[in-house]
């Protein structure tokens, strides 16, 4: 019977996964149906399924989405982008670097999709003003959103999921372990991009003056709200740094920040802020957690963990490098959220089966899953969103055109991560 349940669980999982990859039906519908089928076929009962839903991940995402929605309405991000463009005197190459850095830092603390949604309009605005193509900027922002998001526990869904599942890893642990390699990665990638795009990024003094004439202060639409939003965002990030010492989960911090901001901004923001929460993403997570619970409860994950340990001989170095590269290549072609949802119990199981030091495995999973998203146009949500927006405006980013830059960048960044993981944790 246990074997039959395992076969049913694998069947439901593979079919669901195939539908998610095919993108014929919305991934949330597919994941939810997959999760419901796990319960209907008796692979897990409803109580067990609910037990497997990680409400910390969901709460953290929801809280941050509310904070970002309200902050975005104040014009803060446009102000920062134009202010930075003026600070570098309107030089296109320097603007490429500062907009990319803003995207990277933004993505480290906000959701990647939200960050690019905030950056793309101002990018179109600045590049049109300079009379240059926005393509280098858009591609750089895609890459930087995925790289920057890797640096913190709240930057990218894989990290949120890992941070939530592994209670020993605090917000600070993510920064101290991932930010150093991400800073190196950003520097290297920016060097590569400036080399690639140097010929596209030229304009004369007269055109540059057009940037200097801009009045960035006019971008701020609601100054009192902006001050409240910045204060709450600062307190929330401080809360993330202290959450382990305070003995509270990261979701509690994010939701406290979100509802404090709603309290300060007034209830007329409530409906709008809640309606802009990406409920499709939240339910996608719910479906995936239940889907993976079927594999966990039937022992499938355990068997795969045994198999993985057989391949690597239980060696931490081999396991880390395998997870890093496997995650990167998988994430370049499939959604990294279901992939990480499957890998987390697998790594936990590997710990139970005798691998004592799981830390390098977690960082390998985070780096591989996040940086792998740069490999192809479908590797991460931010890629899909930016290419969609660009296409609508007449700037088509084709799959191959993106891959020609994204895939080499992915290999470079994962190679840097390999050296980092090896030097820091494995020798």
């Amino acid at each position: 019977m246990a074997n039959e349940e395992a076969i049913i669980a694998i069947g439901i999982f593979l079919i669901t996964y195939a539908f998610i990859i095919s993108e014929k039906i919305h991934r949330t519908i597919v994941a939810m149906i997959g999760g419901v089928l796990m319960v209907l076929f008796g692979v897990v009962d409803q109580e067990t399924a609910l037990h497997h839903i990680d409400f910390n991940t969901l709460g953290l995402l929801t809280g941050m989405m509310i904070i970002v929605t309200i902050t975005a309405e104040t014009g803060l991000f446009k102000f920062i982008a134009i202010w930075a463009a003026k600070k570098v005197k309107g030089h296109p190459m320097a603007i490429l670097i500062v907009l990319s850095l803003i995207t990277a830092v933004g993505s480290a603390f906000l959701d990647n999709v939200t960050t690019v949604l905030l950056m793309v309009p101002v990018t179109f605005s600045i590049t049109r003003r300079l009379g240059i193509t926005p393509m280098p900027f858009l591609i750089s922002e895609i890459l930087m959103s995925n790289i920057g998001g890797t640096a913190t526990m709240i930057g990218d869904p894989p990290n949120i999921m890992i941070g939530s599942a592994v209670k020993e890893l605090s917000f600070m642990d993510f920064i101290t372990n991932l930010a150093p390699v991400i800073i190196i990665t950003i520097v290297v990638v920016m060097l590569v991009l400036t080399l690639i795009y140097r010929k596209h990024l030229y304009t004369d003094d007269k055109t540059r003056k057009r940037i200097m004439d801009l009045n960035e202060k006019d971008e701020i639409t609601d100054k009192p709200l902006m001050i409240k939003a910045i204060t709450v965002m600062g307190l929330t990030i401080l809360g993330f740094f202290l959450h382990q010492a305070m003995g509270v989960e990261s979701a509690t911090i994010a939701l406290a920040g979100a509802f404090l901001l709603l309290l300060l901004s007034g209830e007329h923001y409530l409906e709008g802020a809640l309606s802009k929460v990406e409920w499709t993403t939240i339910f996608f997570f719910v479906g995936l957690f239940v889907l993976v619970s079927g594999l966990v409860e039937t022992g499938v994950i355990e068997r795969f963990a045994v198999y993985a340990i057989d391949i690597t001989g239980g060696n931490v170095t081999a396991s880390s490098i395998l997870i890093l590269w496997m995650s990167a290549i998988a994430s370049a072609f499939v959604d990294n959220i279901p992939y990480v949802a499957t890998m987390i119990p697998l790594v936990q199981q590997m710990g139970e089966l005798g691998i004592n030091n799981l830390e390098p495995l977690w960082w390998s999973l985070a780096l591989g899953a996040c940086l792998g998203g740069n490999g192809t146009l479908i590797g991460a949500s931010a890629n899909v969103i930016v290419s969609g927006l660009a296409g609508k405006e007449g700037y088509r980013i084709s799959f191959l055109k993106f891959m020609a830059i994204g895939l080499p960048i992915m290999f470079i960044t994962v190679a840097i991560s390999t050296v980092y993981i090896y030097l820091r944790y494995l020798i």
């Binding site: 793309v120 309009p121 179109f124 605005s125 049109r128 003003r129 009379g131 057009r210 004439d213 801009l214 009045n215 006019d218 971008e219 927006l389 609508k392 405006e393 007449g394």
Partner: protein, 93 residues
Amino acid sequence: MKKLCYEVIHSLMTLEEKKNNKDIEFTIKAKNGEAFELLHKIRNFFESDKIYTDVLFYTQKEQTYQVICRPDSYVPFILVLFQYQLLERVEWV
């Protein structure tokens, strides 16, 4: 083909139009707070739609806006100026 002609309300603003490659650029200077506020509303209107590059607004000093307009958005932009009563008349000639 007929051309769209318009006349601004001179007590509210001055408007200069010129071609810049494919785009049409406007420099609009509001003469009072009310006109500047209306231009703000027009900006919000175009920025709240889902197309980012149709009509781009750049705020400069002294209540002046520079507007870069895609050729396919030229008529909609003029009509919105008219709708907000910043133009005296609009006609095809």
